[in-house]
Amino acid sequence: MDQILVDITLILDSTVRLAVPLILASLAGLYSERSGIIDIGLEGKLLAGAFAAAAMSAVTGSAWLGLLAGIGAALVFSGIHGLASINFKGNQTISGVALNFLAAGLTTFLGQSWFRRGGYTPQLSGDQRFNPITLPFAEELRDVPVLGQIYGELISGHNIITYVAFIAVPVTAWVLFRSRFGLRLRAVGENPKAIDTAGISVTRLRYQALIITAVLVGIGGAYLSIAQSAGFNNNMSAGRGYIALAALIFAKWRPGPALLVCLMFGFLDAVQFRIQGQVFPIIGEVPVQAIQALPYILTVVLLAGFIGRAVAPKAIGVPYTKER
């Protein structure tokens, strides 16, 4: 019985670890898309953030400076995206795709030029990373049955970014649905004309959203390279930006459901290697590839409207033109 409990806690623990970058990127995308700007470029920002964080941390020895650099890189990318989609009224999807390639190309290129390790940054250790935090009483409660296990393993013992990610969810929900900024944000994504008529700058509001997006996804990138791993390697975001986007669509652009979907995708990620080669009753052996593809398949099915309907913010993807 105890063994099962340990197993479950371990799986849930890695679920949390794997879900963190998804949660941060998903919430990031939420701000951008709620403001009416499609964010295909989450993947690129995540990757750029991861690289900048690891590079800065390797050079300065400080994880906090690394985090700042990660956010900075994401801000630059968001800035380009804003320039293309707000100022030049360009195609937001194409801009996002371009940014993803830009990140893939630049991180490897600069990594090789700066560190000469085939795209890897130097190994990070000690203060160069965000290390696990043991919450108070985790040790004392260890002997309490069930609860001690859950508190000690599942809740305590994560790095600070993990806690930030989980706190960001209710904060986002509050900002979006309870604050004045949130009301305007939702309005500008649905009907920018109304916002403009009310005397609020659409451009300013959308840039504000892009800044929040960059901060969150930059933190997510930093998590990948200086919290979860000890350094950057080529293409380490590995499609997580797209999964986060899928989660966002799946959650119908709402923060609470986004958390649940990210946890679900994280869980799929956590169990995929455990179930390899195992035979289940009725369905038999499940190939690991099927689990890997599941988030994408589910998103397609949802988008097709077979399980509920995902309706995007109305003005998404349309550049706002004040007058014709």
């Binding site: 899928a246 590839q289 409207g305």
Partner: protein, 362 residues
């Protein structure tokens, strides 16, 4: 804003956008302390300076033409197809299945069948996002991205669990016999020594003409352009937008699948994991740079073929530069020709029309 003269719109503006992309690329190279002009010299030599280098350039060009056409075709109907990568990958399944079924037969028989079979698989893979866009309103951008990932998982499973023969360690299908493979040009032309360029190259050139004819000379092409320019007007004129979207997406997938004929049928002679290797994504840059026109696509594909082959050479000669610099250039080209294509339109049109209308006149 006054419209630009046609030549400026068709030639000058794209040229300036591409030039800007390369300029920024050059600045990035400069910023890490390397000489961009020297890099360009090495790339040009690597791409055109000797026989097998030139052959490789044409091999890459072949891939990029097909991928570029796959993006362009859909874009004429107003759809952004990000899926050529996955469509080509799945097309590879069609190519290898027919190849293995007829293994040992002469290529002259198998080559056309590879084209048909690959095209069918690629078309089927692209049809689904097309169908979902047309009938269910799911955005084709998101679905094609998802389908790229689904293709990776599905093909990974098929290659490693089904096609892999007993006793082979690496994840790949059984090989095709030499006689069944699409012949490489080096067997006719001495010049191309060790390069993989094969008959598929001529197929790519043919495809450029075919697309020109299809889009600008047929009724179907007219429908496609009508749907792309104004779907509401097209529907009013009695054109079925749904049908057009589904057919053009399937066609795009069929063209993307020709990348598989080039690689699976001609170069590898077997189905290996991830053989597309980004060629499908290069198609996005090629299509935007070439403005969806076959002449533009052909030239852009050649430019990217040169960059990819030359970039290989570059990585040997200048250790401070990796081949990924090309991906950066690719990104900048997409950004400036695709997303910010009209950035310079304003200043340009002011430049054109200022001398005619001095400020004092009005």
């Amino acid at each position: 804003m006054t419209p630009l003269p046609r030549w400026a719109d068709v030639v000058l503006l794209p040229f300036l956008n591409v030039a800007l992309a390369f300029l920024i690329g050059g600045l990035i190279v400069l910023s890490v302390g390397q000489n961009p002009l020297q890099a360009v010299g090495i790339m040009l030599y690597g791409a055109f300076g000797y026989g097998s280098g030139f052959g490789y350039t044409l091999y890459y060009t072949t891939d990029f033409i097909f991928a570029g056409l796959a993006v362009s075709l859909a874009y004429h109907a107003g759809l952004f197809n990000i899926g050529p990568e996955g469509q080509a990958y799945v097309g590879g399944l069609g190519v290898i299945l027919i190849g293995l079924a007829l293994n040992g037969m002469h290529w002259a028989l198998v080559f056309p069948l590879m084209i048909v079979c690959g095209a069918l698989f690629g078309a089927a893979w692209a049809f689904v996002p097309g169908y979902l866009q047309a009938k269910r309103g799911s955005h084709v951008v998101i679905t094609t991205i998802m389908f790229n990932f689904i293709a990776v998982s599905m093909m990974g499973y098929i290659i490693s669990r089904i096609l892999k023969p007993e006793g082979v360690n690496s994840d790949e299908s059984a090989p095709l016999d030499a006689i069944t493979r699409v012949p490489q040009l080096r067997s006719f032309i001495e010049l191309f020594k060790n390069s993989p360029v094969n008959l598929t190259f001529f197929l790519a050139i043919g495809a450029l003409f075919l697309v020109y004819w299809l889009i600008w000379r047929t009724k179907f092409g007219y429908k496609v352009r009508a749907v792309g320019n104004n779907p509401v007007a097209a529907r009013y004129a009695g054109i079925s937008t749904q049908k057009t979207i589904m057919v053009i997406m399937a066609l795009a997938g069929a063209f993307a699948a020709m990348v598989a004929v080039n690689n699976v049928g001609g170069v590898q002679g077997r189905l290996i994991l991830n053989f597309v290797n980004g060629a499908g994504f290069v198609g996005i840059a090629v299509a935007f740079m070439g403005k969806g026109h076959p002449i533009g696509v052909g030239l852009s594909a050649l430019l990217f073929g040169m960059l990819y082959q030359g970039g290989q050479e570059l990585a040997f000669q200048m250790p401070g530069i990796t081949r990924e610099m090309i991906v950066t250039i690719q990104a900048l080209v997409i950004l400036f020709t695709g997303a910010m294509g009209d950035m310079m339109r304003g200043p340009l049109s002011r430049m054109f029309f200022q001398p005619d209308a001095p400020a004092g006149d009005k």
